[in-house]
Symmetry: C2
Subunit: 107 residues, 2 copies
Amino acid sequence: MPDCLFCMIASKQLPSSIVFEDEAVVIFNDIHPKAPTHVLIVPKTHVESILALDEATKDLPGLLILKAKQFAKEKGLRGYQLRFHVGREGGQIIDHLHLHLMSEQTI
Amino acid sequence: MPDCLFCMIASKQLPSSIVFEDEAVVIFNDIHPKAPTHVLIVPKTHVESILALDEATKDLPGLLILKAKQFAKEKGLRGYQLRFHVGREGGQIIDHLHLHLMSEQTI
């Protein structure tokens, strides 16, 4: 999606500190971290938000959760929070679906 | 699972303020709300946490997200947060997988 910040990060048109990447997602550090570890798990497919999920994209949130779990395990995180902000009134700032992973541990 | 608080709520052995129920989940008000709307989406299947997901249960988190989305839409919530607390160090208190839905709007 042109002009989408997270699409540009995923396609390397914009720099970011990517800490994991595979065919489906990129994971990078939040630019305004709210915890010692704060990364965003972002699908390469452009979907605006939880509100915009349809039949073709409804499995994306579950995929992001599993990717987050796998990443946390590889990094040795014992405890963490996973958050979706949904809609402006839910605190969503960037209109590209993303999952926050926050931990009091550092990686 | 005997002695699991959320299994007992789901099977009506313990009282709670259930606001939605279907074959797969119950949704009830958090007993210590952190927002004007704060409900828990809980699978009837007992799984300890995100950490305990296996091949048979790996789709549960995605299902909980979709149930939360559907519930929020029915209640007219425009914005909200969805959170999993993972492990004691992630703030998980009850060892039965659950998704927090929090909104500044009331339902």
